[in-house]
């Protein structure tokens, strides 16, 4: 009660000070920086631009404001020479603690004010996409703890040094270290600027909240330990730091508390659950094949040719709230060696084995405890000599992000309303031959709100209750992938082959308004007619799935074609380089199923040649057929010409010597400008020139042939030379010369 009273008094004193209000006002201005100057999260989504960045800027700037405020408040006793007076009334430890808590409370009030001030602004900017719970969570985890850490660190530094200048320098050094390149991909170390790559509009951002919560908890513990330690160093009884330290050590609870807090933070570091800490290993150091970090581990390399994997079945329960899975996997094996064998089983880092049995008997396994760089955790298990073996594995865990992906955090995601899981996160993998007629199936229990999309055959609900649904899935390859979320499932009507389009419910109104079904159907039919059918059937439909922006792009895997939500963002759907309207941009993205997913365009010498150029050209052709020549002249050809003209008129491109004077950020923008102009505008113009030289009908034949048969120069890729050869043209003929540009109505300026 007594302490609460003192706390109240300190808080009251702070709140009647003009300085306090000034600091609060400055902190309230800090989020404004996140709209322009400080944009750590990719602005590809409106949640990043309108929510994440302002909140992160508010935290960072606010931490500095409160650091200065804390130092000034702590120095007041010295400045006003009140030390003798204050010390005669109350212990300096108590007053320091009360002061610290009152500043923390002031920080909380400031945060509350920021919340009240910026939430309506965010709501106005995000419109119907605004989600109150997301905003509250982001504010709570990204801003408030940063302010508190600024206060704790500054107070601790002041109590150690008793000098404002030294304390502020130390605080700034600590903050700069957190923002330095050494910490850029270490989320745990980044205390003042939590790692947020991009905020998703359409799905949740639990991944970042989990990481932020963990790292904030760690740093709050560290700074609290530091603060308590600094309390022990508070000068008292006219003694120096050592004398005061010795005296305060007699208050055993203080060093004990500091140690407990420090030990707690060490424990948090040691048991960090989210990132795999595997060190890089050489290829010959382990039995696991190397592979792309984000890809499903290679299936075709096995160590035991005489043991066949006949089928596998998994029962999986997903705890979506906590991000954990509990699994039971059964593998049917044919051991043709008739001898006991040690084989390798690969787990996802973060998963642990509870039991392993073979033919219902527990078997030995050895876990060397070494994760590998490609996010694999191999263990060795001893199979019995039996010819037919049923291997049963019970496992549990949280899927860790691969070490190599720690800066992007791309990987598996399990959260209350979004799931993105690859094979290893679903069940452990045995590096064995898959027998003919191999079946990979199972059941997964998910929260009732999640619609499961599984690689291979279409997943179906087999049972459900109020809170969960059990889904059955199957695939004929060992590869598995689950995507689940609050999706609208659209079966595209009048499609040349079965296509399902899964998109976030948050887009439903917008997509229905643009008649997305017709857009998809028209595009699919146009491309199928022009280039040929894609290899999908009733049993094996094409699933086009909108996924979280966290994945940063898209990809394809079996009958999955997943597209990051940024493809459907306002910015992308209004990108004139890709189409004249949102519907045309979506058509562009669907055309990539032919150019990009089912045929690969690349050239080692001409980097302008990519699937984008051909996709833009195809969109142009489709719209020319749908509308008329005038339409595509206005919205496509003129757009390409204008973009090239802008490139040619760019001052820094005309004066390359001046580029060295540009800051890195602007140089990158310039590079992006060149990249976009060449990929999306120059290349379509070159293909258009080729079309004019050989005729539309011949061009259609060329493209259909390239799609059907691929390239010959560097199969399976279709190279620029393959295209030139197919058109029977030379590179010089496709130069964008004056005559060509002017024939299109453009102005030619070199």
């Amino acid at each position: 009660m007594v302490f609460l009273h003192i706390l109240f008094v300190e808080l009251k004193r702070l709140l009647i000070s003009k300085g306090t209000w000034l600091v609060m006002a400055c902190t309230l201005c800090m989020p404004l920086l996140g709209y322009s100057f400080y944009t750590p999260a990719s602005t590809a989504t409106s949640f990043s631009a309108q929510m994440a960045n302002p909140i992160l800027a508010g935290g960072l700037g606010g931490a500095f404001c409160f650091s200065v405020f804390t130092l000034l408040e702590y120095d007041r006793v010295n400045k006003y020479q009140c030390e003798a007076l204050m010390d005669s009334i109350i212990s300096p430890l108590i007053i320091s603690f009360a002061k610290c808590l009152s500043i923390l409370l002031t920080a909380f009030l400031t945060w509350l004010a920021a919340l009240c001030l910026y939430m309506p602004i965010m709501k106005a900017a995000l419109g119907t996409a605004f989600i109150l719970s997301e905003t509250l969570l982001a504010f709570s985890l990204m801003m408030l703890p940063t302010l508190w850490m600024g206060v704790l660190a500054s107070a601790a530094f002041y109590q150690l040094f008793r000098r404002i200048d030294l304390s502020f320098i130390s605080f700034t050094a600590l903050a700069l270290f957190s923002m330095s390149k050494w910490c850029s991909d270490l989320y745990l170390i980044r205390w003042i600027n939590p790692l947020v790559t991009v905020f998703s509009n359409d799905f949740n951002n639990t991944l970042f909240y989990r990481l932020a919560a963990y790292s904030r908890l760690l740093w709050l513990l560290i700074f609290s330990a530091f603060y308590v330690f600094s309390l022990i160093c508070i000068r008292n009884h006219g003694l120096g730091i050592i004398g005061s330290f010795r005296i305060h050590l007699r208050k055993v609870y203080l060093p004990l508390l500091a140690c407990l807090l420090a030990m707690g933070s060490v424990w948090l570091v040691v048991s960090e659950p989210y990132i795999d800490k595997a060190a890089l290993v050489q290829e010959d150091e382990g039995p696991i094949s190397s592979g792309m970090v984000y890809s499903v581990p290679a299936d075709d390399e096995t160590d035991y040719p005489n043991i066949d994997l006949l089928n596998q079945y998994v029962w999986l329960t997903v705890n979506a709230q906590k991000g954990y899975v509990d699994g039971n996997a059964r593998y049917q094996l044919n051991n043709k060696t008739h001898e006991s064998q040690w084989v390798t089983m690969i787990l996802l880092p973060g998963y642990t084995i509870n039991t392993i049995t073979a033919n219902s008997k527990a078997i030995e396994y050895a876990d060397p405890g070494l994760d590998q760089e490609n996010s694999q955790h191999p263990i060795r298990i001893q199979l019995p000599a039996d010819e037919w073996i049923e291997l049963e594995v019970n496992y549990t865990g949280y899927p860790k992000v691969a070490n190599a992906a720690r800066s992007t955090l791309i990987g598996n995601e399990i959260s209350a309303d979004y799931l993105f899981m690859n094979s290893l996160s679903i069940l452990p993998k045995l590096s064995l031959n898959e027998a003919e007629n191999f079946i990979n199936e199972g059941e997964v229990v998910l929260p009732a709100n999640l619609e499961l999309i599984s690689l291979g055959n279409e997943a179906a609900v087999v049972s459900e209750n109020a809170s969960t649904k059990t889904w059955r899935f199957a695939n004929t390859s060992s590869k598995l992938r689950f995507i689940a979320g609050d999706y609208v499932k659209l079966a595209v009507k009048d499609s040349p082959f079965p296509v399902y389009f899964y998109y976030s419910r948050r887009h439903q109104q917008e997509f229905e308004a643009m008649d997305i079904d017709k857009v998809l159907s028209d595009t699919l039919n146009y491309c199928a007619k022009q280039f040929g059918l894609l290899p999908y059937s009733e049993d094996y439909p094409l699933n086009i799935i909108m996924i979280s922006a966290h994945f940063m792009g898209g990809g394809a895997n079996g009958n999955f074609s997943f597209m990051g939500e940024t493809y459907f963002s306002k910015e992308n759907l209004s990108n004139p380089s890709k189409g004249a309207s949102a519907a045309e941009v979506i058509a562009h993205e669907i055309i990539h199923q032919w150019w990009g997913v089912h045929s690969y365009l690349m050239d080692m010498e001409n980097t302008d040649w990519s699937s984008e150029g051909l996709t833009v050209y195809t969109t142009y052709r489709m719209m020319k057929e749908k509308y008329n020549e005038a339409y595509v002249k206005q919205f496509y050809i003129d757009q390409w010409l204008n973009s090239l003209a802008a490139l040619r008129n760019n001052y820094f491109l005309r004066n390359p010597d001046m580029q060295s004077m540009l800051p890195d950020k602007y140089l990158l923008n310039l590079q992006q400008l060149v990249f976009d102009a060449t990929i999306y505008n120059k290349m379509p113009l070159q293909i258009l020139k080729a079309e004019q030289l050989i005729g539309e009908a011949k061009m259609d034949e060329v493209l259909a042939d390239l799609f059907e048969n691929g390239g010959t120069e560097m199969p399976p890729y279709v190279t620029w030379q393959d295209f030139l050869d197919a058109c029977n043209l030379s590179e010089e003929e496709l130069t964008l010369d004056q005559a060509f540009i002017e024939s299109l109505g453009g102005e030619f300026n070199v």
Binding site: K12, Q81, L85, G238
Partner: protein, 283 residues
């Protein structure tokens, strides 16, 4: 309240001995004057009594309990006016006293503040910012905060510095009144302050206590050692304490261990007695 000091020594880190094996008992009700030249150790003793310093050796007991172990209890009964102190300049007088009252955990702060403001004649300045106060007014705010809620032990280090003669008189009376049922320790250079109100004196010099007793006892100890001279005495063993211009010329007042036989002995004042003590009994 009874404070017992036994063999208390304080040596600063720079090697300076501020107090050397002093012993005394301070007991309420009393108004004790602490006298001594600059650097005698008065402020050090006061800091030790407020636990602002830790003694090098010796004991300080508050009602029989070690002071440092019961620091918080002591502070709850203490009102302290340091010799040099600062105030939170941006606060008003009332706000500052309210803050201090809260830190002192005073139950009815408004009444206590009203009383302290009245006692220190700060009524007109209660809403003034401290930064706008004169030196004397700031001193009065310092005294007001020390007297908040009538602490049982009042330590006043040079409280009348900066006050005009009338204020000094008023405060002397106030201290005297406060000391009727509590312990007041008043450190000062101004002999008049202690002469008029203190019922006990402690004289310190060079870290040692030279005298503990009543002012009358101190005066009595100087009898026969104070004389008037019509001219400057030739002997360098006489310490001149005052020169007075009279119609007959300059008259000198001096103290000496042994006065010449023809000296005109006079009844010593407290100042004479103090000077005699410092001059001839000090280190």
């Amino acid at each position: 309240m009874k404070i017992t000091i036994e063999n208390l020594s304080m040596v600063y880190p720079n090697g300076k001995t501020a107090l050397d094996q002093i012993s005394c008992v301070l007991e309420s009700p009393n108004l004790i004057g602490l006298l001594g030249p600059n650097g005698a150790g008065k402020s050090t003793l006061m800091k030790l009594l407020t636990a602002a310093l830790v003694p090098t050796s010796g004991k300080m007991l508050v009602d029989g309990e070690p002071l440092l172990k019961h620091e918080q209890q002591l502070k709850q009964q203490l009102g302290y006016l340091p010799q040099a102190f600062g105030l939170y300049d941006e606060l008003t007088v009332w706000q500052f006293l309210d803050y201090m009252a809260a830190l002192k955990r005073i139950n009815q702060p408004a009444a206590a503040i009203e009383q302290a403001i009245r006692d220190t004649n700060l009524n007109a300045k209660r809403k003034s910012r401290i930064r706008s106060l004169s030196g004397g007014e700031r001193q009065r705010v310092g005294i007001a905060q020390a007297m908040l809620a009538d602490p049982q032990f009042l330590i006043l280090d040079e409280p009348t510095v900066g006050l005009d003669p009338k204020e000094r008189l008023d405060f002397r009376n106030l201290f005297s009144k406060k000391a009727q049922d509590r312990l007041v320790l008043l450190s000062t250079h101004i002999i008049d302050d202690v002469q008029s109100v203190c019922n006990q004196l402690i004289v310190i010099d060079h870290g040692k206590i030279l005298f503990i007793g009543t002012p009358a006892q101190l005066i009595a100890s100087a009898r026969g050692h104070v004389a008037l001279f019509n001219e400057q005495p030739a002997s360098d063993k006489i310490h001149i304490t005052a020169r007075i211009n009279t119609a007959e010329g300059i008259q000198c007042r001096g103290v000496a261990e042994k006065m010449p036989d023809d000296s005109m002995l006079v009844e010593p004042t407290l100042e004479d007695a103090y000077m005699y003590l410092i001059q001839y009994k000090g280190a």
